[in-house]
Symmetry: C2
Subunit: 306 residues, 2 copies
């Protein structure tokens, strides 16, 4: 009897790890969640979780969407490492190699947002729309751009959350919370920026607070830049801040105003509700995206073997 082919996926967050064995959104066979402690303990638990599936031959590749900064330069001797990070114990951790040695299957590693973007493009809201952009607005701000079915990789992992946008100092004298750039997009609009400015978390700021128009303006400015530079066919907004659903309408309206008719495509101008949308996979974009990474590396390896 043939057992169905399955894949392993790890959403490796700075707070918690989610490991799944699956072959798609409706086919999650097993899932485990645990806190991110030391690399030894955390990666050890992951190896332990996957080992039986690997031993039985059901899982032949594992994908990882990891917090960063990640070294994804294929020519680097520290490829697949988490580089220097303020998170205790995790600087210079060889995530790729540790899993590889522990399980002896191909590991595909990418950033958490690239994995989530890929998951959305394979099974979620951006399925059938290429290129697409997945943006998370939460503790940090990061984006995953999927083009020709793959996350964009250039000189370095794109860090599009840190772009410079106009800062409305008149209405919003807050200096920004980014330790590197002060009032970059993340420094103005992330969850910690909201909390530092207002003394309340984004979840607690009342819907009628005038601040939300400023927040929507910052997000819309950044989206305008991504649209003009990357020309995505779908934009997905996820993350903690975007749990406030009323933000979507404010952001769409402001993007429309800012573009001011410049972009002639009717998807942007007339159907903006279908253009800027929440994740189709809810909070599973990341873990299912890791499954999609595993499927891609498995297919590539099988192609090579003829």
């Amino acid at each position: 009897m043939n057992m169905p082919q399955l894949y392993g996926g790890i959403e490796a967050g700075g707070t918690k790890f989610i490991c799944v064995v699956a072959r798609g959104p409706g086919h999650i066979v097993e899932e485990i969640r645990f806190s991110t402690t030391t690399p030894e303990e955390t990666l050890g638990k992951a190896v332990q979780f996957f080992r039986p599936f690997v031993s039985s031959g059901q899982v032949s590749a594992i994908g990882v969407g990891a917090f960063g900064p990640l070294d994804l330069n294929p020519e680097s001797s520290t490829y697949g490492f988490i580089a220097s990070t303020p998170k205790p114990h995790w600087s210079n951790t060889d995530v790729d190699g540790t899993l590889q040695r522990g399980l002896n299957v191909p590991i595909a590693i990418d950033t958490d947002v690239n994995a989530a973007g890929l998951g959305e493009s394979v099974w979620g809201a951006s399925n059938g729309f290429d290129p697409s952009l997945y943006l998370t607005i939460g503790t940090g701000i990061g984006g995953g751009y999927i083009k020709d079915g793959k996350p964009l990789l250039g000189l370095l992992t794109p860090e599009m959350g840190h772009i410079r946008i106009p800062h409305n100092r008149e209405l919003d004298p807050f200096n920004g919370s980014c330790p590197f750039h002060g009032d970059c997009f993340e420094g103005l609009a992330s969850g910690p920026a909201i909390e530092k400015r207002l003394g309340l978390t984004g979840a607690d700021v009342p819907e009628k607070d005038a601040f939300w128009d400023i927040e929507a303006d910052y997000i819309a400015s950044a989206l305008m830049n991504y649209i003009l530079v990357l020309s995505p066919k779908k934009i997905i907004l996820g993350g903690g801040v975007m749990q406030r659903q009323f933000l979507f309408a404010k952001i769409r309206r402001r993007v429309h105003e800012l573009l001011n008719g410049y972009v002639s495509d009717k998807n942007v101008l007339e159907n903006i509700e279908d253009y800027i949308v929440p994740p189709g996979l809810g909070n599973q974009s990341g873990s299912l995206g890791a499954i999609a990474l595993a499927m891609q590396i498995d297919a590539t390896n099988k192609d090579r073997q003829g």
Copy 2:
């Protein structure tokens, strides 16, 4: 006797057309330049110029880098048209079809900046660096992003010159010159923006004028955004404004300051003189880029024919 294979290239500008028959930078066989008048006359001259080379079988494909807005959606019924443009006579001009019917060879059409970026990546300053970004800062501001050897194409032609960047209203109260967005990047930093603000063309503003630090700040802000979003391995700055060579040092210094160590790649941090550079092909990026487009479509067609 075999005649060497040649290609046709058209740099189709709003002011002038440059047509070349060539197979690379050292091998330009013939070149003609003429003013852009009506589509009939201008495209007619181009057809006339290329006809003998096509008839003799020496030229079997022609590339075009054109002013815009261009419709490059392959599913559109007006693919290869110049769409609605303020330039008299040129709105809704079927550039692709007119050349195709006049010469009966495959035509590859793209934006002027995408062609220039491609030319630079094949023979110029970004050769061997993929992805790369070519930015022109002149009458307008536009960018061509080359990834995997091809210009990026998404929902629409990217219009990265119109991104939103911080506007230093204190030192620079000018409202911006963009009819769509006021103080977007192009509205603040293009040639016309300089002239409207100072009453002098960029060529005439003295090098010691404090304005150049503001200009460099705007350009550096935009470059920072492109770096964080697109992660190019080389950035080329061309166009009229960049003829003021001293701007390069100011821009590089300011990009370095703005990134503030965030990007850990040593190419950016330590060798920024080799990262942000002038075009390697001088003023031939566009026409040679059109030749590169022709070579690409020719190779694709030959592949298809087996």
